[in-house]
Each structure stands twice: as C-alpha cells, then as structure tokens.
C-alpha cells in the first residue's frame, strides 16, 4: 500500500517535527523551549510510536498534558503578508484560489469511490481499511502541490503556514486525542456498567412516555459525559432500549436504534468532551470563547432532543 495509515503518521509526524523545529528556532517566542518540547513529543509519538513501550507513550502523553496544562505551550509570532498585499494577490489570482481548496474534498471522495482499487505496479494506492483517511492524505498532498504551483510559493512556505494554523489551535489539537484515551480508560474501568446500573435501578420507568424520555435523555446525557455517541449507544440501548422499550413496550428495534443514536448525537452537539467537533473548531476559527460553538449548537440540540422523544413515542409501535 502506498497511502497507508503509517505513511500518514509519517506525514503528520514530519509536520509536527517541523513545527517543533521552527518553534525552537523562533527567538521572539514567549515560551520557546517548552512549546518546542511539546510539539517535539507529539511528533515523536507519531514517528516512533510503533517502537515505544506503551508505558513510555503514556508517560509522554502525561508530560504533554502537564506542559499544556501549566500554560507552557504558547503560539509564536508569524510573518504574514499585510492585508493590502493579500487583497492584491486575491484580485490577481481570482477564482483560481478556490481550486486547490476544493482539491481536498474532491480527491477524498474520488479516492474513496472510483479510485479505491487502483494499483501502481504491485502496490495498492490506498489502504482499504482506512480508505477515507488515505484518500484525504493524497488530497492534502495534491492540494499543497496545486497551491504551490498557483502561488509560486515553495512547499517550505506551505509548512510554515501549516505551523501558523497549528499554532492557532495550539494544544487544543491534542484534546480530542486525549479525550478518546480517557473514553477508552472509562470503558476499561467499567464506567459504562456503573452508569447503566444507576439509570436502570434508580429511576422508575413505569409509563411508556417516561421510558421513552429516559431512553433519549439518557443517550444524550451519557454522550455528554463520554463525548461520543458510539460509547453511549451500547450502554443505554442495552440498559433501557432492549429490555424496557422493546421487551416491555414492544417497540420496533429499528426505530428504537435509529432515534436513539440521533438522541446521542444531540448530546455530542452540547459537550466539550467531543472536542474535535466543538472545541477545536472554536480554536481553529480563532474565537475567544472556547465554548462558542457549543453555545451556537444548544438551540438546535435541545429542541431536536425533544422532537426525538415525540418521534420515538409515536413511531415505535405503529
């Protein structure tokens, strides 16, 4: 395979290593060495992760968390073109500027559909098990090439701009990763079982409506805690959905499952634990309030959760 997961880890590892190097060389940086160390550790986990003992990787992760948590990771200063130059360049390049940006989604979709079986010589182009990610990797490289060709900038400049965006998100980049780790630890420690125990034994589910409401709200709440609907579904479907809704009230399992998963997604819209959807975009869009995206989503998520309860109540026994 040419575009395998390991190749993508290598690319990201090199990007992060470059960020670390530039940070270390950035004399005007307010937290030069500790920031460089943070990005260097992250790069090492991508480049050398497969050769590390798990306990070492765990220790590196804790070290990164402490560096970020103690305010030792800061963005540097970045030389950008001033606004007049950017406007002039925008006027000169016009709509052609959109083309490289569209290369990423178009190549990703083509790769995952049309090109998925392409071989070059003996080698498959994409890793079948990670088709979308592999195609995204190819799309990102082609887009960088197209952008360099269009703007006559060097790929090195592209890496510098990449660092500017990584710096804009700063340590928030690693948050989805760390929360996923916590989710796995929760599973291993039996948090899911404990939640199911509490919801099913402490609450009365003696009316059809109460059971439906508890099921949908339970999905949302548990997703808010775990940050992931996929973690909530087995617990709440197993704890309330199957025994109570299907077993006691004769619900259609397909309706119970579909609307249950969507109730979990309402929770995803409202939780900082789903950092890659909620916290990272706030950082990426340079919003001062890290919870701004969640606040924008709550007026959609809450009415939708109520709609789910009503839909499930009326549709499950039709």
């Amino acid at each position: 395979m040419i575009f395998s997961l390991n190749f993508l880890y290598l690319l990201v590892g090199l990007l992060l290593g470059f960020v670390a190097l530039l940070t270390a060389l950035d004399r005007g940086h307010p937290r030069r060495l500790t920031s460089a160390l943070f990005w260097g550790l992250y790069a090492a986990l991508y480049l050398a992760g497969d050769f590390m003992a798990p306990a070492v990787a765990g220790a590196l992760m804790i070290a990164m968390a402490l560096l970020a948590g103690c305010g030792l990771v800061k963005p540097g200063k970045h030389g950008t073109l001033n606004e007049a130059d950017r406007r002039a360049s925008a006027a000169r390049l016009g709509n052609r500027l959109f083309l490289p940006a569209l290369v990423i989604p178009v190549v990703t979709v083509l790769g995952a559909t049309v090109l998925k079986d392409v071989h070059i010589g003996e080698w498959a182009l994409f890793d079948k098990a990670h088709l979308t990610l592999a195609s995204l990797g190819l799309g990102a490289l082609l887009a960088l090439g197209a952008a360099c060709w269009l703007t006559r900038a060097s790929p090195l400049q592209g890496l510098r701009e990449g660092r500017r965006l990584v710096d804009a998100m700063s340590w928030a980049v690693t948050l989805p990763h760390m929360l996923a780790v916590l989710g796995l630890l929760f599973t291993e420690a039996g948090v899911g079982k404990a939640v199911a125990e509490v919801t099913t034994s402490w609450f009365a589910l003696d009316s059809r409506f109460a059971a439906v409401a508890m099921y949908c709200i339970g999905m949302a709440l548990f997703t808010i805690i775990m940050g992931n609907g996929f973690a909530a579904f087995p617990v709440i479907a197993g704890g309330i959905g199957v025994p109570v809704l299907v077993g006691q009230y004769g619900a259609d399992p397909a309706v119970m499952a579909a609307i249950g998963m969507f109730s979990a997604y309402c929770g995803t819209l409202m939780t900082p634990m789903a950092a890659n959807f909620n916290i990272v975009p706030a950082a990426l869009l340079e919003l001062p309030d890290k919870n701004a995206v969640i606040k924008a989503q709550i007026p959609t998520a809450l009415p939708l959760l109520a709609a789910n309860i009503v839909l499930l109540y009326f549709l499950m026994n039709r």
Partner: protein, 230 residues
C-alpha cells in the same frame, strides 16, 4: 448495601463535570480524571500508564483529518483565499449569512447521507470558505459588523457543518453507526435490517434541518438588528 457493579469509577465522570464547571484547563481535567478513574477501579499506576499509552497510540488516526490539510489551506490563506471569498459573496445581492448557511446545511446533510462525508469539514471547508463567506455576506449588508457578531457568525458556521454531518451521515446505510447498532442489537439477540434503521433516521434528519434552519433565520434577524441600530 452491596451491588455487584462497582460504582466508584463514576468519580472519574464527576471530576470531568467539576473540571468543566470550574473552567479548569481541559487537558489537566483529563489527566486528573484518568488518575481518579484508575485509582477508583483499583488499577496499579503502571497499568494505568500502559493503558493510556496504548490508547494514545491506537487513536493517532483521530487528528489526521484536522492536521493533513493545514499546509495547503494555510498557503492559500496567505495569498488571499479568505479575502477573495468575502469579496465574491458581496457581489451576490440576495446573499445573507443565514441563507448561505442554510444552503450549506442542505448540501452537507444530503451529501453526508449519500456517504460523501468528506465534502466538508472544519479545517478544509469551514475555516477557509464557509466562515469567510458567511462573514462577508453580513459585512456586505451592514457595512461593518461588531466583533461579537463576527464571532457568533463564525460559531454558527462551525455548528452548521456539525449538524449537517451528524444528521446526514446516520441515514447512510454503510456508515459506521449503522454497523455498530446492528452489531450491538445482534449481541442482544435482535436481528435488524440496516436499511430500516437508516430509513427510520429520516424523520429526525428532517427535524434537524428545520430546527437548525430556523436558528439560522434568527442569526439573520440579529444581523439585521445590528445593521439598523447603527
């Protein structure tokens, strides 16, 4: 009283809730929750460290979607991608931030429902194109906009991408969530046709579109109010 299930690991959940309520640094909250959960489940320190490390290495695929496009997007931004997007939308007289985002919501939801979830995304679409377009439409209407409103428009652009993705992808039959639901239900002894699960997601998907579009209309109203207030 004795229950067969150990309820102590819930302390880890309590740490997360307290941490976010106190607005502590999220990374520190995660580490504290890991420590408390490990202790509550009576796991030795080395074992916790090994679990964390193994999980961290296993989830390295998560940030790829975010990090891979950055070099190309950053380079285009340097040469005026945002400025060009804002100037382009200003030429369309009927464009408002809300209407533009409703169109994006529709396209995002439909394409995700067809399995094309990568036609969008926060780093590759929202930051370089959708957010500047939405901001540009508001600026073209009002002349200039306050920072508070600018941030609200950006946050709504990010929210629109999320809502479209979540409630579109789950009515695509081959999506992971459908496979997951089928697997879980099979383990419970229930056999369900994936197509029926996808179909029963449609009423919620329609509700999501209607409710979020209504919120986008409210965004337009807020932009209009600020424009008239000047």
């Amino acid at each position: 009283m004795h229950t067969a299930v150990n309820l102590w690991p819930l302390l880890g959940v309590a740490v997360i809730a307290a941490g976010f309520l106190l607005r502590a640094n999220p990374v520190l909250v995660v580490v504290a929750a890991c420590a408390v959960t490990g202790a509550a489940a009576a796991m030795p320190v080395m074992h916790v460290l090994e679990s964390l490390g193994a999980a961290f290495l296993k989830t390295r695929n998560l940030p790829l979607v975010l990090l891979l496009p950055l070099a190309a997007i950053g380079l285009l931004e340097r040469f005026g991608l945002k400025e060009h997007a804002m100037a382009s939308i200003a030429k369309i007289r009927s464009a408002t931030s809300g209407r533009l985002l409703i169109v994006y919501l529709f396209l995002r939801e439909i394409s995700a429902a067809a399995g094309l979830t990568s036609l969008g995304g926060q780093p590759s679409m929202v930051r370089p194109l959708i957010a500047p377009l939405a901001e540009g439409a508001a600026e073209a209407r009002n002349g200039s906009i306050s920072d508070a409103l600018r941030y609200r428009i950006r946050a709504m652009a990010a929210a629109t991408d999320n809502v479209g993705l979540f409630f579109g992808e789950d009515i695509f039959v081959a999506f992971g969530a459908i496979v997951l639901m089928q697997t879980i239900l099979r383990a419970e002894g229930i056999e369900v046709d994936p197509i029926r699960m996808a179909l029963w997601g449609i009423p919620t998907a329609v509700c999501a579109f209607v409710i979020h579009s209504w919120n986008l209309r409210r965004l337009d109203a807020a932009i209009r109010r600020e424009g008239e207030g000047k």
